[in-house]
Structure formats: C-alpha cells, structure tokens
Amino acid sequence: MGRIWAITWHTLREAIRMKVVLVMALLIVAVIVLIPQAVSRPGAPTTSIVQSFISWTLMPLGMILSFLAIFLSCQSISDEMYHRQIYMLLTKPLPRWQYILGKWLGVMLVISLLMLIGGLIIYTVALILAMPAYETRIVRLRDALDTGQVLVDLADLRMSGLAEETEFNPPIRVMEPADGQTPLKWDQSKARAVPWKELAPLAERLYVRIYDRPNDYYAMEHEVLTARATGKLQSPDFLAMAEMRLQQLKEQGVFDSTKTDENQARTALITEASQQWRTIGPGEQKSYTFGQLQWVNRSPTNILQLRYKATAFGYAADEVIQSQWFFGDPRVVTFFGPVPRRDVKDRYHVIPFRAHAVAPDGTLMVTVQNLDARRGEGSRHRGAVMNFESDEGMEVLYRIGSFGWNMFRTLLLVWCRVAFLAAAGVFAATFLSFPVACLFTFMTYILAIAKNFVTEALEFGGLGKGVLGPLEYLLKPMFDGLFYIWPDFSTYDALPQLVDGRVVTTVWSLTGVVQLVGLGALMFLLLGCVIFRQRQVAELSV
C-alpha cells in the first residue's frame, strides 16, 4: 500500500507542479463565473436562473474533468516512459500492477480534488443565486391575507383548501407590534406560534413574515433545491383489456380474423384502451392509482405534490382546463376534496396535498373530475376533453432528501465516468505513445457518449436506407456488439434529475460505481497490468 501511495502522491504532485491542476482549476472557475452572466436574462424567474446555472456549470465541469483525465492518465505514464524515469521506478521493489494502480489513483486524486473544489463552488453559487427567492418581508397579517400573500406553504394549502382546517400544524410564527408606528423589526425570539384558528380574528394586529416572491420561493424550495422521489401511475392491464374487447368484437361478429390481422388489431386496441384510460370527457370523472409510495412519511403535516400536465381536445376557453381533484380513498376519513383547479393546458402544474391521503400499502387514489361540461350546457360547445399525456402526464412527488446530497450523488456519477476514462487512458498508455493513447481514450469517450446518436443514425429512415446504404447492415451488428459491452454514459447522467429537483438515488449512483469503476475501470486496469507486465520498458534503446 505504501508503494501505491507513493506513486499516487507523486502523480498528484506532478500534476500540481506542472501547473495542470492550476490551469484546470482556473478554467473551471472561469466557467462558473461566466455561465451565470450568459444564462441570466432580466426578469427571468430565480428558479430558471438557478436551474440553468446548475446544468450549464456541472456539464462543462464533467467535460473538463473528462478531458483532463484523458490527458493526465495518458501523459503521466507515457511521459515517464519517454523520459525513462520509469527505469528508476521499476528497478525498485515496485510491482508493475502497483505502478498502474498508483497512477490511476493519482489521476483520480487530481480529478477528485478539482471536482470537490468545483462542486463546492457551484453549490455555493447556486445557493447564492437562489437567495432572491428566499427574501422575506414583514407585513400585517390582514394585508397578507387580502393580497393572498400568506406564507407560501400556507398559500398553497389555502389554494388546496387545507389551511382552512383548524388543526393545521405547524402553526405560523407571528409577531405583535410594540406600537403601531415604528417600523417592525422581526425578532425571532419574540415571535410566537399561533394556530390557524386563532389567527384569523387577530389578523389586524398581527404581523407575519412572508416571502417577497412566494411563487419563486415555493418553486425553488420544493421543485428545484430538493430531491424528490416519484410515485408512478399504476396502469391497468391494457393487454387483458384489449383481449377482452377483441373477444367481445369476435362474439358480436364485428371482427373477422380472416380479413384483419389479429396482432395489428390487438395493438390498436391496446393503444385505444390506454388512450381511453388517460382521457376524461366533459363532466366525467375518473380515478387513478399511484404506487411506489410506501416510503412516504404519511404524517398529515407532510405535504406531497401531484404534478400533472393535461391537454384539452375540443374548445377550452382561454386555454384553461377547469377540474376538481379528490385525494385518497373515499371510504377513509383522510379522504380529501374537492380541490378546484383552473390550469392552463399543456403546462405542468403542481397540486399540493396532505401525505395521509396515501394508503398504508403505499398506494394513493386520486379522482379527477373534468368540470368543463357545465359551461357548455345549452350551447353548441360540448366541452373540452381532458387528456393526460403518457408516463409523466401525472405523477406524485415527495421530498426524500436534500439538494446537497443529490448533487453529491450526481457528481459521484460524473466521477465514475471520469474514473472509467482515466482507466482507459492508463490502459492505452501502457502500450501506446502519448498522442495515440490520447486519441484512443478520446475514442472511448466518444463511443460512450454517442451510443444513442449512433443507434439512431443507423436506424434513421429505416436500416439500410440511410446515407451509408447497405453498409448499415454491416455496421449495425458491429455497433450493437460494441455497445453491448461499452458503457453508455447517458445512463449515468443524473444532471436532468438534479436540475428538476428529482432524487438521484443511492442505488443509481452505486450502479455507476459498480459498473463503471468496479467493472469497466477495473477491466481496463487489469488489461493494462497484463500488457504492462509483458512490456519491455527499455525496448527503444539499443
């Protein structure tokens, strides 16, 4: 271990002394400083600024570190061979595998260091950029209520009707003024908690601290700087439904299997059933069940989000869909509703609701009523049909962790990708000269990020009909084979999830560690050791 560490430490010191680390650190800082300038538009919501910042800095950070890993891993070994310092190392009691491992660890130490610095700066700057959303001011409770600007959480709960309930907990912190004249200074120690039911009559005298931009605050806190898990919509067995319908049609004599292909018909029926299931006609209502909620804290104070996006077929006035929502099982006391909504179509909307609507088995029933028909009565307008788009058309989100740890896990996946590249570089440098090793490693990088592109390009317009013509028939199995063993970096890219405030699961990041480092990098390092053992490092001189 001491020897491996000696090589690791030496590699780190080389990178520092050769100013590589310094240059890269400056580049990273430059990116972090310049990106906010580029992405901030005047008047943009704070959330979108923060989201753009995170994605436009973490992505370059990953790329810079990837390139650095390619360069360092190839250079560190090739250089020592070229300048023959390796003679001095390998004539010491240093097994060659320890040399290889030490080099890789050294490169990864450099990467980790830069990643730590870059990650901390990005995290800090993101929080600073988010600060406007957290700005608060002190107002009279009456004014706040009148303008609908009660504490943001409360505002949303009021919208959902939740805040009207007397047992609302935790209570809002309010403060009485010393006298009516002097401007109020918020003193947390003097603030006291008041339950909602006592609050309303005292609204004239009490002061509350409210967020300046409640919508920004809410989106920031609950949709961006958070880590949310998802409860997925449980769809019925469309195949069974299609089968039943087919049987029905056959019995009715409508369907003739001699004239129509049964498989085609079945596919069409499945599509139809699924469409129908996602569609709510004017005035109709439909119940949906969400699963995978068994880890939700079902305390009544815990607020979950239902995120949905619906489109409207037929005329929807002002592009707005009117609906009302019910949460939970109607037979249980925690059933709650209706929550009236007027939401613009084709946009995502979030409805907060209370966690105790979730059944103990981790399922949640949500009933949606399309209110549009009522408007249409007596006129030619027959009301808009509400339709939820496929998988992400409706989902339940709940906070499961913090943004910081979510970012850590995202960076861990980036680290794994870079570790894979560094191992590829070390491998290449054991038998290739610096430029060739660099190119080789760069190719591994390209292959790892281009999997989707290549697959799509080959199949674009049908296999064999693209620019390459029949050659595609040859290339397809080649690439298929290659991609079967080659990692696809996009499956280890958690950045979209992070930016969207969705949890990057520990399982996911561990998958990255196991597959990219435990399998991929290890394989390259083992191969590198095998080749390096055969290698006569002094071969060039006679």
Partner: protein, 389 residues
C-alpha cells in the same frame, strides 16, 4: 562471504531487437555467459553500443532476454523481491525536473517502504555524502548534469543495496565527482558490496574493478581479474627520491650489466592532471570559496551495511564523521600530502629547486596507466590513455 552463489549468473544470454515486422534488427547481446560473485567489483567494458547497457537492463528486468537464462540472487529478473537488494544508477539521471533533491530521494525511499524517520536520516546522510545538502531545496530541473548525477547516485544507495549496478557512473561528472565515485566504489567494495560497473572510461574501471569483462558486439572478448589482464611481467618500475645524475647513470649501468638490456627509461614522474586538479579545488574549498554547485562529498553514510567484518573498515567508518565542509575526509583518499604540497609549490611558484623524484620505468606489476594492448587496440581503435613505455 557466506553466500558463495553468484549474484548474477547468465547462461547463453542473447537479446535481439526486432523491428515492427518481427524481423531481427539488432543483436545487442549474443550468447553471454557472465558470473558476478558476491563481494566483487565487476567491470563491464566496451565501446558504445557493445551491449553493456542492454545487459544491465536485462539484469534489472527492464528488458527480457530473447534466449538464454539469467538469475539474480537466484531469482529471475522479474522477481520484484530481489529489487530490495539492488541499487541502480542508470547511464543518465532520469529524474523529475519538478522535484527537489530531497523529494526525489523521498520518492524512491517510499518505494522501499522505509519508515519516515529512517528515510529522513538516510536522505540527510546521502545528501551530505554527495555534497548536495545545501542544494537540497532546489528543483532538479535547475541542476547541472553532474549534480543530477550525484542525486542519481544517492538514490541508488538509499536502500543500502547488496548489489549496486552503476551504468557509466562518471559521465557528466567533474574530476572531483569522478574521483569521489571511484573512492565510493572502492569503499563499498571494501565493505563487501557487489558492484557491477559499466563504463567505457577505462581509467575508471581500472582504478576500482576486481574483475572486468570486455564486450564487443554483444559478445565477451576478454575477461578476468584486472591485475592479471594488465600486468606486464616483462617490466619493472623503481621509484626513488631525487637522484644525482651520477647515481642514475650508475643504476643504468647496473641494469645493463645485470640484464643485458638497453631498454631502460629514466624520467621525472608527472602527476596526473586529475590529482592536481583535485588538490587545487580542495584548497579553494578550504578557503571557503562559495559555489552554487555541488560541494565535495562527505563520508559514506553509516547505514550502508558491511558484508563482512574488517578492522580496517571499522576504523574508516568511525573516522568518517560528517563535517560541514567535507574536504578532510577526502584528504584520506588523496595521494601522500607531503608529496602533493611539494609538487603544487613547484607548479605554482616556478621550477623546484630541492628534491625531485625519478621514476624508473618500465612499470611494476600493479601498473596503472597501462592496458592490455592486444585486446584494446583491437577493440577500441584509439585507447584512452597511451602508455608511455
């Protein structure tokens, strides 16, 4: 010498370098049979490209033999454990420009898994030995070639090796460094270390080696103990204090009478430029002239173990107390001080008036400036040091 097995043994060792198409390109070593015994200073001689470095690299496992067998300490060269007992100074100092001397030695010390304290004390002693203790904080990139060479030597000794491989150790060194290295090799030899010295500087080899082997075209052309190879049994050398011309003439007559030979040369001994140069520098150092280069090296570090007990070595070691300016120790390695002061004063302040030494040539058996003409003229074309006889 408890262990009588050879340190290095090669049988029919061959190394052929192939080109890209696997065709034989160069035969660097051809059927080499070599044995290096424990405790000997073995010289590997030969002109450039004769296969010296290739042989050394095979011994070190940096190259693999094409044919033949080789064992070091009874193990194949790829065995990592034997490297603990080997010290290696390559033909050039392949050091890291961005490290300073101390960091360099630390790196190599760590590879031997030496404990921190022991490593630090060894490094101090080695830096002192090679005279770089005051330059230890400078980057090696700023070093002169000779200074880098000294660091190379220091790193070769950091593990107290039983077997020291020195590939052209004196290239790039000034005469003082050369002399020090030779002294060092002799001292290490006295301590029972096994040393493999490769060089094409013949005086170096001649001064320190017990046994030599002359390579040409990857093959052994001559080998054996130095004295045996070089002694000229046909000549005798007498050195005496300054003699009156009459005495000289008498001696000549005696020799002619007794031996019936006219081939008698009588001349004043000239000091070798090397000895003279070293003395001048030592004087400057004694006068504390500042230098940015390496200082004269110090004593051999005491951690370098001895292979066999010897009272003389004991006394040498105990005398070797580190001192800031290390000329005192070096004096012991110099020729007789009495003679040297005479000659310097003679050289510096005009012709000597008083005593002079006459050397009657031809030389005696342990002659220095003479080489086996038959072999070397043949092999080297222009011998380094034409012998006067």
């Amino acid at each position: 010498m408890a262990d009588k097995r050879p340190i290095v043994k090669t049988i029919g060792l061959s190394k052929v370098f192939k080109d890209f198409w696997r065709r034989d390109k160069v035969v660097a070593v051809r059927d080499l049979d070599l044995e290096i015994q424990p405790g000997e200073v073995f010289g590997l001689l030969g002109p450039n490209g004769s296969g010296k470095s290739t042989t050394i690299k095979i011994i070190l496992g940096l190259l693999y033999p094409t044919r033949g067998r080789i064992s070091i300490f009874g193990q194949p060269p790829t065995d990592v454990s034997i490297k603990k007992r080997i010290g290696y100074l390559p033909e050039e100092s392949y050091l890291y420009r961005f490290l300073n001397a101390r960091e360099t030695l630390q790196l190599y010390g760590r590879l031997f898994q030496q404990a921190g304290e022991m490593r630090a004390s060894r490094i101090d002693k080695l830096l002192e030995m090679v005279g770089l203790q005051h330059q230890a904080r400078r980057r090696i990139g700023e070093y002169s070639k000779g200074m880098a060479r000294r660091i190379g030597l220091a790193q070769a000794l950091i593990n107290d090796p039983d077997f020291l491989i020195l590939d052209e150790p004196t290239t790039g060194l000034d005469p003082i460094g050369t002399r020090q290295i030779k002294e060092l090799i002799r001292e290490l030899g006295r301590r029972g270390k096994t040393i493999l010295l490769s060089s094409h500087l013949l005086t170096d080899v001649q001064d320190v080696c017990d046994r030599v082997c002359i390579l040409y075209g990857g093959q052994v052309r001559a080998h054996g103990p130095v004295e045996q190879l070089l002694s000229q049994e046909d000549f005798t050398q007498i050195t005496a204090p300054r003699l009156a011309p009459r005495t000289v003439e008498e001696i000549r007559q005696v020799i002619q009478r007794q031996q019936g030979s006219e081939a008698v040369t009588i001349s004043h001994p000239t000091e070798r430029l090397e000895d003279y140069f070293i003395r001048i520098v030592q004087q400057a150092q004694a006068a504390s002239v500042v230098t940015s280069g390496a200082q004269m090296g110090g004593a051999l570090p005491d951690f370098l173990s001895e292979q066999e007990g010897d009272a003389l070595i004991e006394s040498l070691v105990s005398a070797a107390v580190p001192a800031p300016v290390l000329s005192e120790e070096s004096v012991t390695t110099m020729p007789e001080p009495a003679v040297s002061t005479e000659i310097i004063s003679e050289l510096v302040s005009g012709p000597a008036t008083d005593r002079q030494s006459f050397t009657v040539i031809p030389p005696p058996p342990p002659v220095k400036e003479q080489v086996d003409q038959t072999v070397l003229d043949d092999l080297l074309g222009s011998p380094e040091d034409q012998h006067r006889g």
